[in-house]
């Protein structure tokens, strides 16, 4: 097969694979980015759901506390019983509407726990507020502010209408929370959360590690305000120093707590990569299959064409001998006609036609055989010493009758009379094709001009007709085998379509070229041949 065809086939296979591979890679990267984004938002969603659960705990406590507070008896013993019975409540304070502390009781004995509560909250009490210590950065009390004003100042609660809210402070390193509200009678009630109970309840409400496959993929950590892990779940064991994939801070009142999510970054590239590889492999295989199919088709056609050419070639060979005999006997017949038969008489005319037509047929066969030889690369030049003009005259003479029959007059401007080395068969075949074209397509011009010139080692022959000419757009293609100019020109004519192509091949074989020159009207072909001067000895 020709390397050009092979290259084309390889390109047919390679280009789509490369293009589709590149596109698929781009899609994959886009998808990965999208996946990463989706994963992140999924993780964040998950963390926010956890935060929601934490908030649920606070809301549950709030409603429990408010419900309990409605029934809260304002009697020391009963208040103590309330604290004792509430696992969530560590301690309790109640201020009257006049700002006096009702619980833990003032001026009455208090229990050890109540005493510790008072110590823990020492900075909150009005008389101590000025020297109150608070944790840096924590929403706490301004200097000189007591608990009543601190908790009920605008912004401390969730709104002026609802005078309640969470108050957070640190005693030592421990974070404490008080839920406070002001009831209709103006009393300020505050319940201190038992932090251990709160955390324990939170843990019970949060997921455990579980046993599924999915459980091994992640680890979620609840980080308290000290930065320590308060609780964690998920079977993934984060490596030392592994960065969290995502993290959020919890909502009020645990805004200093954090949720961190550890997990593998989306591994889509792995799966997608495989997918891409498979896709490219499949596409490649499909294209290779297509390529192979096209190749087989192509070689089959080439083989078929070859067989046809071979067939035509053989047929032509077979035709050659009978044709030679016909020509021979046609000439013998003409010679054998008695002198009495006048020049334009029927018998002479018939024999002339037989001779001309058989000549035409042998030209055709010659063309076919030359083409076949050319295809096989067996075209060879056999130059002999001779005069170009002689060959032209002889050929033109053979055409004269048929040209005249179509009303075409041939003129020769001979200028190549030198003895040169030329292959007369090749030149004759070139001229045959050119004259034949004139005869077939340009008879309307009524005139054929042939001009020959010699310069140095080259002979130039210009064959010009005065017919419809060849449009510029077609000029390049008239030499292509089997190409024939559109219907208008060739409507009434028949032909094989290989004539000009063969003529050009032969001209090139002869060290020259055949070119189409500008001429108006008609077409002008210039044949250039390498014709070195012939030595005297030949």
């Amino acid at each position: 097969m020709k390397p050009k065809t092979l290259a084309a086939l390889i390109l047919i296979v390679l280009i789509p694979i490369l293009v589709s591979g590149w596109l698929a890679l781009r899609v994959l990267f886009d998808e990965q980015e999208l996946l990463g984004h989706q994963m992140r938002s999924l993780v964040l969603d998950r963390l926010h759901t956890v935060d929601g659960r934490v908030q649920d705990q606070f809301r549950r406590l709030e409603s429990d506390f408010l419900a309990a507070g409605d029934k809260l008896p304002m009697e020391t013993g009963l208040l103590r019983a309330f604290v004792r019975q509430q696992p969530d409540v560590r301690q309790l304070f109640v201020f009257g509407s006049d700002g006096a502390r009702l619980f833990p009781p003032e001026g009455e004995p208090v229990t050890e726990k109540e005493n510790r509560f008072l110590e823990r909250t020492v900075h909150l009490w009005p008389e101590n507020a000025a020297r109150g210590s608070r944790h840096p950065g924590e929403p706490g009390l301004a200097a000189g502010e007591g608990i009543t004003s601190a908790l009920t100042r605008p912004g401390a609660g969730e709104g002026p209408a609802e005078r309640r809210g969470w108050y957070t402070w640190f005693s030592g390193v421990e974070q404490n929370h008080i839920f406070w509200w002001q009831d209709e009678t103006g009393r300020l009630i505050g319940l201190e959360l038992e932090p251990m109970r709160f955390l324990s309840g939170l843990i019970a409400a949060l997921p455990d590690t579980g046993t599924g496959e999915d459980a091994l993929a992640y680890r979620i950590r609840l980080i308290d305000s000290r930065g320590a892990v308060a609780y964690q779940w998920g079977g993934r064991e984060p490596a030392e120093g592994e960065a969290a994939l995502a993290g959020i801070f919890l909502s009020h009142p645990l805004e200093s707590w954090k949720l961190d999510y550890y997990g593998a970054a989306p591994s889509a590239i792995g799966a997608g990569g495989w997918g891409l590889g498979l896709f490219l492999l499949a596409a490649g295989a499909a294209l290779l299959g297509l390529g192979r199919f096209l190749y087989l088709e192509h070689t089959r056609e080439v083989r078929l064409a070859g067989q046809r050419v071979n067939f035509v070639n053989q047929v032509s060979h077979e035709l050659k001998t009978p044709l030679t005999n016909i020509r021979l006997y046609a000439e013998l017949l003409e010679d054998a006609l008695p002198e009495s038969v006048e020049e334009g008489g029927k018998p002479r005319r018939y024999s002339n036609i037989i001779a001309a037509e058989s000549q035409r047929l042998s030209r055709l066969i010659g063309n076919v055989l030359t083409f076949a030889r050319q295809e096989k690369g067996k075209l060879a030049l056999k130059p002999k010493a001779g005069r170009v003009d002689d060959i032209i005259k002889k050929t033109l003479a053979a055409f004269r009758p048929s040209l005249a029959a179509r009303g075409v007059q041939a003129w020769l401007d001979a200028g190549a009379g030198a003895r040169v080395m030329v292959d007369p068969d090749v030149l004759e075949q070139i001229l045959n094709n050119l004259f034949n074209n004139t005869e077939k397509y340009a008879a309307s011009g009524g005139r054929l001009d042939v001009q020959t010139r010699q310069a140095g080692e080259f002979t130039t022959i210009v064959v010009r007709d005065h017919g419809p000419g060849i449009p510029k757009s077609e000029a390049g293609r008239v030499f292509t085998p089997f190409y024939r100019i559109s219907s208008r020109l060739t409507d009434q004519a028949t032909g094989t379509g290989i004539g000009l192509g063969i003529a050009r091949q032969l001209a090139r074989l002869h060290g020259g070229d055949l070119t189409l020159k500008d001429a108006r009207p008609g077409a002008s072909f210039e044949v250039r041949l390498h014709t070195p001067a012939a030595g005297d000895n030949s």
Partner: protein, 442 residues
């Protein structure tokens, strides 16, 4: 039809007869309020020990026992691997076998994170539970706080006053994820106790923190045990579940109102609240035939000979798991003044004196461990020896036998303070102190 009816009538009659014929035993907790020295010397103010003792009643029909709602929380951190976890699995499965339908059980394991291996479920699905327990393998760090919290969460699903709600924790290591100090775990125990959940802690081997484990158990009124060899786990689990099945009363609230002039000083061994003249203490549960008590040390003013002074009144409320009703008990105690030293000695209440001496000695023992922890071994030994002497001087006359016993015990403790294997001694000491404080049954 007729036969059927007459048979069912007959059966009904038999059942009725059986119920009526059952021994009319009091299904009521017994309350004893007594002074160690009901008769005291006149003319001087002095210390006295008031003991409030509660005794669980006999269970007449074991089939009617209140259901147990227990969470078994197993440490499966790396240190538990090998025989320990294997024995723990066996003990848990054996404990499971001792429960019956109507009981609830859950199994929670923890290392760095927590897994609810068996969510709270009725014991009818025994094989499934046992299979789940068999899958437990050791490895990882120790999130003890979270493990107990999750266990409590499982118990909470079926939390009810008429059930024995219990978390049973087995750990061999130190907590290192989440809250990890004895104080923090004690407060967790305290709030769980308030909810009606007690936490039993079983320390396995020599690597656990006995302070953390005793505080967690103590504040929730659970049991505590030190198990040195994994092979003993099965026995401890058996004891634990036996006491759980024998619980007859819950949420025992004890209020002691001291009369004017009587000053409450301290409660020995138990968590309590003293506000003015009122002393409050709580016990989460009481088993059948178990005696639990509160020893209150009071200061009584000087009195005249022959004077009879009312000292305190005691109110106890509790939930009776057999009658399924809450019940109240009350009693009061007085003190008599005399000039006769002999009479004081003769009238001394041996049982109360014995309890008081043990609790006193126990407090000393705890103080000594505290000193020993600070590296002050000799001071600690001195404290115990001094304490032994004091006990003999102060109580020898009233209760010679327990005083002698405690004296010997304190001396032995003193010797053990510089024992080469202090880690192990400390664990067994803590266990002993704990059992004394809480009148643990096993």
């Amino acid at each position: 039809m007729n036969t059927m009816r007459s048979i069912s009538q007959f059966i009904g009659a038999v059942v009725l007869a059986a119920v009526a014929g059952a021994p009319a035993q009091a299904r009521e907790v017994r309350l004893d309020v007594a002074l160690g020295t009901p008769v005291v010397e006149a003319g001087k103010s002095q210390r006295a020990f008031l003991r409030v003792a509660l005794t669980g009643f006999e269970i007449d029909r074991p089939s009617e026992r209140p259901p147990v709602n227990a969470a078994i929380v197993l440490d499966k951190s790396g240190s538990m691997s090998g025989e320990k976890i294997q024995r723990a699995r066996e003990a848990a499965i054996m404990a499971l076998d001792s429960l019956s339908e109507g009981d609830y059980v859950s199994v929670v394991t923890y290392d760095g994170t927590v897994r609810v291996v068996v969510p709270a479920t009725e014991v009818s699905r025994r094989y499934w539970i046992a299979d789940a327990i068999r899958t437990i393998n050791a490895g990882g760090s120790t999130a003890l706080f979270a493990g107990v919290s999750k266990g409590a969460g499982e118990v909470r699903k079926y939390l009810a006053h008429q059930r024995v709600n219990r978390v049973i924790l087995l750990s061999d290591g130190l907590a290192n994820v989440g809250p990890s100090t004895p104080g923090e775990l004690g407060r967790l125990g305290s709030t769980l106790g308030t909810e009606g959940i007690s936490v039993t802690t079983i320390g396995l081997g020599l690597g656990y923190n006995e302070d953390l484990m005793t505080q967690l158990a103590g504040y929730s009124d659970g049991n505590h045990a030190f198990v040195e060899r994994p092979g003993d786990l099965a026995r401890i689990f058996e004891n634990e579940f036996q006491t759980a099945k024998n619980v007859v009363a819950k949420d025992l609230d004890i209020v002691i109102h001291c009369e004017r002039g009587i000053r409450p000083i301290r409660v020995l061994g138990r968590e309590s609240d003293i506000a003015g003249q009122t002393v409050r203490a709580r016990m989460n549960q009481l088993s059948s035939r178990q005696e639990k008590f509160v020893v209150l040390e009071v200061e009584i003013p000087a009195g005249d000979e022959g004077q009879n002074q009312k000292l305190a009144s005691v109110d106890v409320s509790y939930a009776n798991l057999y009658t399924k009703k809450s019940a109240r008990l009350n009693n009061s105690v007085s003190v008599q003044y005399t000039r006769s030293e002999k009479e004081v000695k003769e009238k001394a209440n041996k049982a109360v004196m014995s309890s008081s001496i043990k609790q006193m000695a126990n407090e000393m023992s705890k103080d000594a461990v505290r000193l020993r922890d600070q590296g002050r071994v000799e001071e600690a030994q001195e404290l115990l020896k001094e304490g032994a002497k004091n006990i003999e001087q102060e109580f020898g006359a009233y209760a010679p036998a327990p005083a002698e016993e405690m004296k010997m015990e304190l001396r032995q403790d003193a010797d053990e303070l510089d024992d080469a294997n202090w880690n192990k001694k400390r664990k067994s000491l803590r266990e002993k102190q704990y059992k004394l404080d809480n009148q643990q049954q096993y």
